[in-house]
Symmetry: none
């Protein structure tokens, strides 16, 4: 029997406290979907009391049903010297209408007297009454004992009394937090064992990475009896960040025999990491354990030689177990299998050893080398497959475009585009203005093509993301532009790469239009079949 | 009496195995100087046998005398079935003429029989004879037992015999390597204790980060009796990298009472990290423990409130101990208090209730409402404060610019910029091309201003980030551009927001230039005070 460990992801709450991270409501909905699909147990998604924007998110979530995870809203115990139902933040938390709430309270006597400035006894009442308030309203309550380890080291008796207050009020899980991230493995291990011996309920661990020890401290807490692990999927959070769940899940499940997420989702760990990084608009650290792009990349000659003879010689696990891949940095020999799988999704009948498959694989590898990435750009991938099979005729040809931007602005619009295209031998020219060059270009392109393809009038862009790939080269670096489009029914994503942001946007815009026209054509053909 | 831990830095050897890292001889000389100044015990700087470029470096090092560190060259035991003095790699290692050599050999029986394909007995002879060869020539010999932990787990008796062979031949230190990075804290702790009990000599630890546990495993090894720690200063190396010494040194010295580097160098830990990152041409991870730019950055309102009352409430150490700084980030929900704290960093004498302070706060809030975000853009923030106080005169005025982009490209460059500026009544006009419009604009702006301000020739951009703020509006949405610039000594960041990516980039570029010129002016004024 494998022991089940509850994985509690706080990317959308503690993760949003990280420098450089800011989520829109749309971003949050997408990350919830990715984490739910992966199968974490809890998704802590906001702090309704302190962040009014989060209320809109929780409102939207009422229409979303999750397959695996339970949604959690986060808040504090009531403030001192008032009743629970007088506390605005508590009421905001209740109105988020989540099945689970996480309530944090103070464990460290110094924080009680010096930071929130109340008595040790009043703090115990704040904990107990707030937990009881939510239990009476049918919530599952996770109690976060903030600064538990520092508190315990300073005054163990009082720290344990704060847990007792939450326990007595009916908390479903007591989470021990190393809020400042300053604790060491041996002490975490020892203190967790004291708590798991004393309280016969679910015990959780919440660590920060200020000493580079967040993952180790979480693992040692589990080995000392904790069965609930909090962190953020990519490790970002206040200061140096939280425990990195994309490391902890495979550490526990592949190496230590615990059960964290459904077994068939283990191979989605890498995809989920890249997806969340993309939505958060950060570059995923390539040296991230398990899920980083370099995690199984071999550069040293002896290492490559060893891995070729026996992969376990320089790899601690098979990279495919977490959906990652081996890479030899000197000789690019990787990824074939994954690419074949993706091609088969588009052309199920293709033979993986055929010259056609080989040609597609070569082209994909070339493009990846140029900086393309097809996760989150499936439509561009599909177009490439069709183009390489020769089963593709472009719907239009660009004759030329010219874009002019100037300051001071001469009109209300800061950019103008002139464009000329050719469709089946017929030329058409037009112009459009926009707020910036990409906007002008997008408008001009659709305007000139609607003459030939009126169905494009329903298409509009819903997302536009820019990522600098090799940021050391600054403005001469390559950029990757991801575009999401919709016609009101379906949504598709395309990608372009160039050192020129206009060219990268152009490539992605063209793919978006071509993909829509291809799907329209397929629909029409089906009618005749 | 504090226990001395030898810090062995392999940035220039194992670090050079990282994806994306490549050092010139000049780079290596600079990194040696930085590490020697910091006071590490050993600097492992190359592998003369496998990398002929390293021979030039070791040649250059003969004229360099180090103040603190000992220089180490790295190589393998002799190959099977030859004598030591017939082995070309061994002879190359000898000819590096370093006082110390690090010799690695096989501890894992599987590697002996399957990878180097020899007998277990011949491997023991290879270890013993190679160590003896260097000892006879007066070298200090550090023996790296590759895959020691995996070997021990598989065949403890044989793994210990390999150490015995090195010990009997006179090795000065036996280093236990977790080469594949797959080991866990509890097993590292237990196995190191077996070795420290058995061998009465110096024991070292060398870990990799494939499970996110390299720092923890190193700390636990020290607690189990190891007194020599190998790693790379910023943690980069094969795959997920090596143990990060910029984390381990303060963990051991500030938290555990060991002695790693001279006490007065502790405050150089952050500077050294930024210096090595600059030479290695990588962006230092802002969430790096102790030395990252976000390591003591507070964003959550409750955290900022707590730190203002008592710094230890949300900081595990005083940031100045490692030469880092506390920062209060301006989140989108930043309160008035945070803004006041930031203003005080720039104008310490300002009264927080004065009309001046009020004016600045109003302007900041307006800009936040427009989509600005000042975390990670302190230089723009400083310029706003000065502008609102009326203590600011722009260094130049834009008369106009024109940018043209077209497809198909007419020349190799896809964009051209024409720019005209005015400095103290004098106009100047120029033009430049670039890979894309922002690149062209950046080049043109610096080119035209260098006529007036030659000090700008040292400035270049090191990062360029684009974030779409309200992505539902797609190409008509607002974008936020963050720019990081450097003159080789300091680093500053600026931000611009607009619906036009060109305008947003322009605003950030102008702030970057203005900020640099402001700091130059302040420097000159100090000379006269």
């Amino acid at each position: 029997m494998r022991v089940k460990i509850d994985i509690f992801d706080s990317t959308l709450r503690d993760g949003a406290q990280a420098e450089g991270i800011s989520f829109s409501v749309e971003d949050k909905l997408k990350i919830v979907a990715a984490l739910d699909n992966l199968g974490v147990t809890y998704i802590e998604a906001g702090n309704p009391g302190s962040n009014p924007k989060d209320m809109e998110f929780f409102g939207r979530m009422r229409d979303v049903s999750l397959r695996n995870a339970k949604l959690v809203a986060f808040g504090s115990t009531r403030r001192r010297d008032i009743t629970v139902d007088q506390d605005k933040n508590v009421l905001a938390l209740l109105s988020a209408e989540t099945p689970v709430v996480a309530i944090f309270g103070k464990s460290w006597d110094f924080h009680v007297t010096e930071i929130i400035r109340t008595t040790l006894e009043e703090n115990l009442r704040m904990i107990g009454e707030t937990v009881a308030f939510f239990k009476q309203r049918g919530k599952e309550v996770i109690y976060d004992a903030e600064h538990f380890f520092d508190g315990y080291k300073n005054n163990p008796e009082y720290a344990l009394r704060t847990l007792q207050a939450a326990f007595d009020a009916g908390a479903d899980c007591l989470v021990l937090c190393d809020t400042n991230g300053g604790c060491f493995p041996a002490e975490v291990s020892e203190i967790v064992r004291v708590v798991t011996d004393k309280f016969k309920t679910k015990i959780g661990i919440h660590t920060h990475n200020d000493c580079g020890l967040a993952v180790a401290n979480s693992i040692l807490a589990v080995e000392a009896g904790a069965t609930h692990v909090q962190g953020t999927y990519l490790g970002f959070g206040e200061r140096c960040g939280n425990a990195n769940l994309s490391t902890i899940i495979p550490n526990l499940q592949l190496k230590k025999g615990y059960w964290c997420i459904p077994e068939d989702q283990m191979k989605n760990l890498t995809y989920t990491a890249r997806k969340i990084a993309e939505i958060a608009n950060i570059s995923l650290n390539k040296r991230e354990p398990y899920v980083g792009n370099s995690a199984f990349a071999h550069k040293g000659g002896m290492h490559i030689d060893g891995v070729t003879k026996a992969t376990s010689s320089f790899e601690h696990i098979d990279p495919s177990l977490v959906g990652n891949k081996r890479r030899f940095l000197m000789s690019e020999v990787a990824g074939r299998k994954t690419i074949v799988e993706k091609i088969k999704e588009i052309i199920p009948q293709i033979d993986k050893d055929s010259p056609e498959a080989e040609k597609i694989i070569q082209r994909i590898k070339e493009m990846e080398h140029e900086g393309y990435q097809f996760e989150g750009a499936e439509s561009t991938f599909e177009l490439i497959v069709r183009k390489q099979l020769g089963k593709y005729k472009p719907f239009f040809e660009l004759e030329n475009f010219k874009l002019v931007t100037e300051q001071p602005k001469l009109t209300g619009s800061s950019a103008a585009a002139l464009i000329k295209v050719n469709v089946d031998g017929k030329s058409e020219i037009t112009a459009a203005e926009g707020n910036g060059p990409v906007h002008a270009l997008d408008r001009a392109l659709r305007k000139v093509l609607e003459v030939f393809y009126p169905e494009l009038s329903r298409v509009h862009l819903t997302d536009f993301k820019v990522r600098v790939i090799d940021s050391n080269r600054a403005t001469a670096a390559k950029v990757r532009v991801l575009i999401e489009s919709t016609d009101g029914e379906s949504v598709w994503t395309t990608v372009g790469v160039s050192t020129d942001i206009i060219e990268a946007s152009w490539i992605a815009l063209v793919d978006s239009i071509e993909y829509k026209l291809l799907k329209e054509l397929e629909k029409k053909m089906k009618v005749y079949l």
